[in-house]
Amino acid sequence: MDMKYITPAAFFAVVYWIYAFVRPEWCNFHEQYQMFLFGWDYLAGHLSIASGMADYLAEFVVQFFFFPALGAALWAAMLTGLGLLVWRASLALSGNVDSSGLHLALALVPSVLVGFYCGDYNMMLAFPMCLVMALLMFLLYQRLASRRRVYFQIFLIPLFYWLSGYGVFVYAALCAMADARRFWRGWLPGLALLSAYAAFSVLCVVMAGYTVMRQYPFIDLFCGVNFYRDRMVVPFMQHLSAFSVVLMPALIALLGRGGKAVQVVCGALVVSAIPVLMPFSHDKFSYSLMKIDYLVRNQRWKDVISFCQVYLPDDSMAYNGLNLALAKTGQLPDRMFEFPQMGQEGLVGDFQRNAVSCVITGEAFYHLGLINQVLRVFFDSQASIVNCNRSARFTHRIAESYLVTGRYDMAAKHIRMLEKTLFYSAWAREAAGYLYHPDKVASSSRWSQIARHRVQDNMLYTVTDMSDMFLRLHHQSPDNQLALQYAMACDLLNGNLPHFMRAFPLTQPGKNQVSQYSNVPKSYQEAVMYAMVTQSGGNVDLPPFVSQEVRNSFRDFDNMMTMRQQPDKRLFSTYWRYIVSYR
């Protein structure tokens, strides 16, 4: 291998490592807010919009992010490919074939900028895709040798604007530089050509805006539809990255080979830039939430708990994930107060009008058997995706909800859509076999439990009586232990100890006397003790299941409270610490 390719190879490896192992949630996040459909209608829908082709190709790539390892490879290939195309563009501009590692390292600068920019999880891959398209189009254009190729721009610029949107400006600038250098040497003709191409590109945008794209604001038409998730915003980094794609080929074309040391230093800087800049581009709080969501989605409950032990963002979404993971592993009653907790909202979050916050709540509803709420959460989350994309993940859950509740026509509608995807189609084909067969659903390994757990009669969903709602689920299906854990946790988190004490015997099925109670989880012991002591005002005959350790711990806690001291670390993970701070 030519040594100059070491830099791009190392760059690829580093990017792959980051997104496959350090930030797989980035891939997951992008994948779950889109649904690429194979079929003419979907393509035609994109082709009917300016810049739709860039968006279509980006969505095609992003669907592979379903597997973060594959997604990371594609993303690394895309960024490295962008750099190689910049390098090829520089060769086309200079006509110089004697390039070095320095040139390749500098050619990767736009990739570094895009890599930095992509830490903003709202950056859509349509943007780097339009840069790749612009460079490819430019290199194709370069294959036309005649001076008369300039006239082709009358067709090429509008066509390319329609395909790539914003990319047309990069393409036009590169073409202007190449044409000026090749046919009209001198800065004045170059400037004139650049102005002409730019003006013509702007004219194309304006004409589209007043004809076929009247329903789109000019910000979309100039800067690309779906190049940023919130389409009313165009970050500076988009312009900077695009500018670098124009600037770097021109700069490289002017540079010599550079010494060996310069090549090595530049290569090392470029390769290390993305990991070094990551803390500045990848916001820790948001990425932690994304990570928890990713782990919950994949039902990696133990990983959720270990992750939250290291860093637990102060957000209901994170707590929803943590508490669900604890409950799914049967640890909620024992370990929930090892974490700070944030009230009932940390168990089941209130609905918020965004596409992110309630997804884990929806997953909790799914596992609890509150199927109509699953439908509501995933439907509203999907409707809250700011760029109006559909989500394959959400559609999957919506289809399941319709299927389990016997609304087959609606289930079929969503299943048909998923059948046109790549990674959900196998599931969809299997699910299609269950349509209109309630008995089959009830006996399926996948849905029998949910079908059994779901509410069979009228029940109003209410956040004010959530504990009763969970108890009702448990009462209806006594094997729904998750609902029981949630009901008890809800009372504990709300400090509703009378209700907790009434429901507490349910956790000891088949035992009629308190003396028979065994294996009582730690937080339940603590709550029982707290309730009895605070009710009686001190001397009370505690039930035998309250361990000596809990009794001692409470005594220490009580002493510290009496002396108005802060509870020490040992007492952090007790119910008392929570309830005192909660109140």
Binding site: G209, Q215, N372, A383, K413, R416, Y461
Partner: protein
């Protein structure tokens, strides 16, 4: 290479031949074909878009449409659905006004043609001269929306155009595009979200109003134009909703408070009356055809009873003096539905003054979530009501409106799948009898409706194509410059 091309050509020919359009040796079957949409026995206006339909499980469909008077047309394109030529269809409907078109359907399955019993479609002598219909498209959801938009569809073809799409007003909710008696030159439209406004466009002049005042409980909501074009009656609703964990019912929409009033567009003032701003809930006001009466629905505060299933609205009226812009001094109860155990909403008087069309449901102010909700017609001469049995279904029907000649109605119904509201049309004769409703025609109806994720909301006829400068309008919406309405009593 050449061999490959010949092979491909042969394959294409064979594929075409395998679904030859002309049926041979068809087996006769004395039943109607399983069609989607079911157009058998419907009444249509001349010049409506072709009633294309799919025959279930057919590999190929051959349909011969023969006019009762004259003319014929064949749909034999080798598709799985009858795909009529638009011009030919229009001509056939015009030639057979007041008579039926008889459709003979043959379907190919497993190489065998089956010919079904011929059925008729009656072409009413009553025209439907409107250009098309306007409606809002929104996914049938809960609290949020994404791909929302106000659209218009030409009913003579399959062309649909966005009046305002979500892309133009990102993040904003839009609802209630309502024209004055189907006149596209006078319409109003609400924008909700971070940049709320009520757009009133008259003869191309746009006015963006802020209808929230200290004297009223909310922004103006459900509108109805006065025939003069000077006034719009509104209800003001504090809307809420709750969710059920149940298979039959998932959502209930209700008001926490509501009033009614009239907006004077000449002075930009809200005309208030204590009779329409009581502790009871007043909603869905609508002017009579002559503009001298406002019909509206009213209910006692349901919270007094404590249950959603006690929400029941009566149909009432109050006089309106258009000359002086004054509301009457007493309210008449037209139908005391609550006493009879049901609820009336969405009163819509016919423009000829003969009828009043309304929704009934066992309870609720939002019948579209109630499968039992049906359309009823009140004869304003005899004050007797009857259900539009032919037009109704087991699903909910609501959000109805009249054509300008008061012979056609358009309404939304969830009868198709229980979730998506689709548009249906029905003919209402001079005695108030409705015909079997037909679904809004589409080029390939199965494909279209199977893929459709949206609901059609608040449909209305429109005489002409609606013309809104959406780019300028979007600029004004985000510009936040509004005319503040005043109040007078």
């Amino acid at each position: 290479m050449r061999t490959t091309i010949y092979c491909l050509m042969l394959a294409v020919l064979l594929m075409a031949a395998s679904c030859a359009p002309a049926p041979k040796n068809a087996v006769q079957k004395d039943s109607l074909p399983g069609m989607f949409p079911d157009y058998a026995g419907v009444t249509i206006p001349a010049d409506i878009a072709p009633l294309n339909f799919e025959v279930s499980d057919a590999e190929c469909v051959y349909v011969e449409a023969r006019g009762g008077r004259q003319g014929s047309l064949t749909a034999a394109s080798g598709k799985t659905y009858a795909d009529f030529d638009i011009e030919g269809w229009h001509q056939l409907t015009r030639q057979n006004c007041g008579d039926s078109i008889y459709l003979s359907v043959c379907a190919l399955r497993d190489g065998q043609w089956t010919q079904y019993r011929t059925f008729g479609i009656f072409v009413s002598p009553d025209p439907l001269p409107e250009y098309g219909v306007t409606y809002r498209k929104i996914e049938p959801g809960y609290e949020t929306f994404s791909q929302i938009g106000i659209f218009q569809r030409c009913i003579h073809t399959f062309d649909e155009y966005a009046i305002v799409a979500h892309t133009a007003l990102q993040g904003q909710c839009m609802n209630c595009h309502v024209a004055n008696r189907c006149d596209a030159s006078q319409f109003q439209l609400h924008i909700r979200g971070q940049h709320p406004a009520t757009l009133v466009q008259v003869d191309g002049q746009r006015t963006l109003l802020n209808t929230s005042t200290d004297s009223t409980i909310a922004n103006c909501m459900y509108p109805y134009w006065h025939p003069s074009g000077r006034y719009i009656a509104y209800s003001l609703n504090l809307i809420n909703q709750c969710f059920f964990e149940d298979t039959t019912k998932t959502i209930e929409v209700f008001d926490l408070a509501s009033d009614a009033l009239v907006l004077d567009l000449q002075t930009n003032e809200l005309i208030l009356s204590d009779l329409l701003m009581t502790k009871d809930f007043e909603s869905y006001p609508a002017f009579s055809a002559d503009g001298n009466t406002i019909y509206f629905c009213t209910s006692r505060p349901w919270m007094d009873e404590g249950l959603f299933d006690s929400i029941r609205y009566d149909l009432c009226s109050i006089a309106f003096d258009a000359k002086n812009g004054k509301l009457g001094n007493h309210v008449d109860t037209i139908i005391a539905a609550s006493k009879q155990g049901y609820s009336i909403t969405h009163p819509r008087p016919s423009y000829d003054g003969k009828f009043l069309l309304y929704s009934t449901s066992s309870c609720s102010v939002f019948p579209i979530h109630h499968p039992e909700s049906d359309l009823w017609l009140l004869d304003l001469a005899t004050m007797e009501s009857h259900p539009l049995t032919e037009a109704n279904s087991n699903g909910p029907e609501s959000f109805h409106n009249w054509s300008t000649n008061s012979r056609w109605i358009v309404f939304a119904s969830k009868r198709h799948n229980g979730l998506n509201n689709l548009l249906y049309f029905s003919h209402v004769d001079s005695l108030g009898h409705a015909s079997k409703a037909f679904l809004l025609p589409q080029q390939n109806p199965r494909q279209y409706y199977d893929n459709l994720m949206h609901s059609y909301n608040v449909p209305d006829f429109t005489m002409q194509k609606v013309d809104l400068d959406v780019r300028a309008f979007a600029g004004e919406v985000f510009g936040d410059e509004r005319i503040q309405v005043g109040v007078r009593r």
